[in-house]
């Protein structure tokens, strides 16, 4: 791991007797794109606002480039921030909005103009400097807000759900644009979102949060493929759960809807007849008995959703319903509801989850 650029230690925040952030620790390297991901109310915004200086931590510390900024005022931290509601100054045109921080920093008019032009080219809106915020679409306004935040060359960029006020289509294109600009400038970025797809698609690393603490910290593929807890597994991506009962603890056999299958291992403490639950991602399931899959189960198609290139099936195995996607094969008709179906998976793809 390269030298630490942002370090948060034992960060805690209480509002009254309500502790919303519980001793959070993390550290990131320069240039990383970090997402704080978690459900509503888990304290993501509160952490970001403590980094920005808008909230004072109850305890703990925040360091940037080795400097303790925990008690600095927001205007002394040299950070850039983009807000959910754009927050452009309504009385200023685009050029003056982008130049605002530069003017505060005492930059001269010519230099400011040059920097503003450079920023407008960066966000793909050259020639927009005379427009006012109300004359632009939401996506354009948010790009201007991004340009305004990075124009003064902040040490770090903070984004609080910058895409959630936008329509779905722009949300996707703008997040790619944000990532491209971030990579281009190499600016360390903390991005807050409750959208797992957003976090997975643009982050170097993700901090998955729940109820004020960190559940897991890792690269997108680590968080998705090796969720540390059941919460992470269910919050990031879709998770299937199969209720099974132990048929023979000695032989690692379990019964699922009357069908007995052997597993590589069982949780310690499993005895014959006890109930266990197995968890797995939809994509490890295949329709039919595919080579290499050692668990084969017979079920019934409970539901079929045609999504174009992909067909999403829900397969009933007794009281369990599993979700899986198959590619649309143009030569065969999709399965129909009520039809019997065989599904298979490799037992090594089962997720073993800690609580």
């Amino acid at each position: 791991m390269a030298a630490e650029f942002l370090r948060v230690e034992k960060l805690t925040k209480r509002f009254g007797n309500n502790t919303v952030v519980h001793g959070v620790d993390f550290a990131f390297a320069k240039g990383e794109f970090i997402s704080l991901l978690g459900p509503s109310g888990c304290g993501k915004t509160t952490i970001l606002r403590m980094i920005a200086g808008f909230e004072t931590p109850t305890s703990g510390s925040i360091e940037v480039e080795g400097q303790d900024i925990t008690h600095l005022k927001p205007n002394q931290r040299q950070l850039g921030m983009v807000f959910q509601a754009y927050a452009l100054f309504p009385n200023l045109n685009v050029g003056d909005n982008i130049g605002f921080g530069l003017k505060i920093a005492g930059m001269g008019r010519e230099e400011r103009r040059a920097r503003t032009d450079e920023m407008l080219r960066l966000i793909g809106l050259p020639g927009f400097e005379k427009r006012f915020p109300y004359e632009m679409s939401g996506g354009q306004q948010q790009r201007v807000a991004l340009a305004r935040a990075i124009a003064p060359r902040p040490r770090m960029l903070l984004l609080d759900e910058p895409l959630s006020a936008l329509d779905a289509k722009i949300r996707v294109s703008l997040r790619e644009e944000i990532r491209a600009i971030q990579l281009d400038l190499g600016i360390t970025t903390v991005f807050v979102t409750h959208d797992q797809e957003e976090a997975l698609s643009i982050s170097d690393r993700i901090v998955v949060m729940n109820a004020g603490h960190i559940e897991q910290l890792g690269a997108p593929h680590e968080v998705y493929n090796k969720p540390a807890t059941r919460f992470v597994a269910t919050f990031v991506g879709t998770l299937n759960t199969i209720e099974a009962s132990v048929a023979s603890a000695a032989n690692h056999q379990v019964t699922i809807d009357g069908q007995t299958v052997a597993l590589p291992s069982l949780p310690s403490g499993a005895v014959d007849g006890s109930a266990i639950s197995l968890t797995l991602r939809p994509e490890v399931l295949s329709v039919g008995n595919r080579p290499g899959n050692d668990i084969v189960l017979a079920g019934t198609v409970a539901d079929v959703t045609f999504l174009g290139s992909v067909i999403r099936l829900r397969v009933a195995l007794g009281q369990n319903t599993l979700s899986l996607d198959t590619f649309n094969d143009q030569r065969t008709a999709p399965p129909t509801r009520g039809e019997p179906v065989t599904i298979s998976l490799a037992s090594k793809d089962l997720l073993i989850l800690g609580e």
């Binding site: 205007n75 931290r77 921030m81 807000f83 509601a85 009385n91 505060i104 807000a145 722009i170």
Partner: protein
């Protein structure tokens, strides 16, 4: 079938005539100074009166100072209450209503007791001191209007987020108020200013008891001693007040426009 438009119009006209008939009568009377003709003689007589010019000029100057002081007090106060002490808002709102409840005469007697020439702060000891006192009295009188105008203006912008956006870019509170908050509530501030002006121009009680040569006492004096001029002055005051109100309406068009969009 179209619903009848008769009754709504009838009610409106009935209500309007309640205000308009006396106004027309006053206007008609103001034109009758010269026997047998309609003329603007009463207006000429008013405008050529040096006391009219002096008192009107005096009140305009006092009004301008009252506006400046009012803005300097109210804008930061509303801003900080909204930003840092939102729980204080109902209390502040009540406080700013007090000038409407407490009669001006009570206010001015309080001033005279507190600031008379033998007191610790003898504002009334000099003409300038009394002018200052008069300005403060008018700031107080106009407070309910100024406060409400500015508060409404700040409701249309997201004060907290705009403040934070400016702060993170390095701005301090003074810069934020001057460059971000004030420009965005300017229209509201100006409408508060015109209301203040309308109040100051016609105010009688305080100016008279502080014995200052203001327009209000002059109006009263003319009203008691002349026949046609008071009618002309009433019409003039009315036009000034309505001019101020018209400006407020006109300004509303320049209020900051919302830019909340999802596309």
């Amino acid at each position: 079938m179209k619903p009848s438009r008769f009754w709504p119009w009838f009610t409106l006209l009935l209500g309007a005539s309640y205000f308009i008939i006396p106004l027309i009568a006053t206007f008609e009377f103001s034109l009758r100074m010269r026997r047998g003709y309609y003329s603007f003689d009463a207006y000429l007589s008013v405008f050529s009166d040096p006391r009219f010019q002096a008192t009107f000029g005096y009140s305009v100057v006092i009004g301008i100072f009252a506006i400046i002081v009012g803005v300097l007090i109210v804008v930061p106060a509303v801003y900080f209450v909204r930003l840092r002490l939102p729980w204080l808002r109902p209390f502040v709102e009540f406080l700013t209503l007090l000038p409407l409840i407490i009669p001006a005469i009570v206010l001015v007697y309080g001033y005279i007791r507190l600031y008379n020439s033998s007191s610790l702060i003898p504002f009334t000891g000099s003409a300038l001191g009394t002018d200052v006192l008069l300005v403060f009295a008018y700031v107080t009188l106009a407070l309910p209007y100024m406060y409400r105008a500015v508060d409404t203006g700040m409701r249309t912008i997201d004060v907290q987020t705009l403040t934070e956006a400016a702060q993170i870019m390095g701005a301090n509170s003074a810069t934020i108020i001057a460059r971000v908050i004030l420009p965005n509530v300017l229209v509201a501030v100006l409408s508060g200013a015109f209301l203040t002006f309308a109040i100051v121009i016609g105010e009688f009680t305080i100016a008279s008891l502080l014995n200052r040569p203001a327009f209000g006492p002059y109006l009263q004096n003319i009203g008691a001693n002349r026949a046609y001029e008071p009618a002309a002055l009433a019409i003039i005051s009315f036009i000034i007040t309505w001019g101020a109100m018209g400006m407020i309406n006109l300004l509303a068009r320049f209020a900051p426009r919302t830019s909340a969009r999802t596309d």
